[in-house]
Symmetry: D2
Subunit: 127 residues, 4 copies
Amino acid sequence: MKTKIYYHHTDCGGVVYYANYLKFLEEARTEFLEDKGIFIKELIKNDSALVVIRQEIDYKSPAFYGDTIEVKTSLSNISRTKIEFEYRIINQHAKTISTAKTTMACVNSNLKPKAIPGHIQEILSRI
Amino acid sequence: MKTKIYYHHTDCGGVVYYANYLKFLEEARTEFLEDKGIFIKELIKNDSALVVIRQEIDYKSPAFYGDTIEVKTSLSNISRTKIEFEYRIINQHAKTISTAKTTMACVNSNLKPKAIPGHIQEILSRI
Amino acid sequence: MKTKIYYHHTDCGGVVYYANYLKFLEEARTEFLEDKGIFIKELIKNDSALVVIRQEIDYKSPAFYGDTIEVKTSLSNISRTKIEFEYRIINQHAKTISTAKTTMACVNSNLKPKAIPGHIQEILSRI
Amino acid sequence: MKTKIYYHHTDCGGVVYYANYLKFLEEARTEFLEDKGIFIKELIKNDSALVVIRQEIDYKSPAFYGDTIEVKTSLSNISRTKIEFEYRIINQHAKTISTAKTTMACVNSNLKPKAIPGHIQEILSRI
């Protein structure tokens, strides 16, 4: 999951704006899940959605226009209703730009908590 | 409709990023319509939505961090299925930053074109 | 610090996109500081900038199109080189939408850590 | 220049938010120029920047979460101080989503108009 930094990612401080990293994280965990055969769109057909309930992120070094960053994603925890991802973002010089952790909860279409569907649990437990 | 410019509006060129002006325009025309008693949410209950089908914008002068910009909105045209808005964006020194024009079309929930509901037509024709 | 939710804040899940809350937090802490007489622009003239080094946010309840949210900001910690803000975001029904914490560090124009300028320390210590 | 659509591109209408297309256009014309050997960063070292002075875009069909869109970019006009790009955005079914046109002007670091540097003129005239 590599992303090149364009003007739209940056702010007038000359670096990537802090909120935009959360977009990179969304992309990275989506690709991580799809790679395992889990598609958000399929979940929704099962009346299930994964929503972010907590985000932590440490900004260690700035990313600049023209840089290419890479998000390394791993599954750090899984329970009956929650999934936790950890990430390390590095730049083209392998320097750590940021580390982060996302906790997601499974909800139904009314945004009420529910158990993660069995076949998803199964896939995730095998990772 | 006044907006203060924060870091999240700008890019590493030091000015407001060109796409972000379209967010200001959305806010301005929403307020313009609500001021006349037209609420997007109510339209949706009537199986109607207004979607942007064309946008033109001329960037005349940059806006900077800390500036306060004002969007002046007017209704420039209305037909059975379309509405056209014109805007002038000025900064705190009354300098014109940008002029723009948005054409919106009425669609149903399947995104198929439909006539603008009668009571909305009526309100808009009185402006 | 109140903000109305427009289309540009939301995603296809029908709620405010998780990264966009960090824009509300930027706006809220900027207003908090300006209210005390601290302006980011003035800091920069003193070769000082405040950069976010850590962000935590708990998403407790979704915010929807048309909602009006309010960010309540407080200064939770201050050291020689760092400032910590805490926030509670509520909606128009006084329901807590989110709680968050930002740690900022003072850096010079080369993004190297430096002490927070004395007059800023003074203002912040009086809050 | 292909882009997959994630949640952060969409809005609560269920489709890609109209302003976000301008980010795709920025990415596409940057890649178009870099492919020809023109780098924004190098221009800036020559006290030259290309700023958008006019944007037109027609939204013909919506793009949805999970779609993959492609921006086809061409150089439609070039003068001593301006460059004009045209684009067609298609989805994974080769359906035209949008057509657009961007006019850029060359400016110096004080945002004053200037001639496009000679070697850039040369490269562009050969396309």
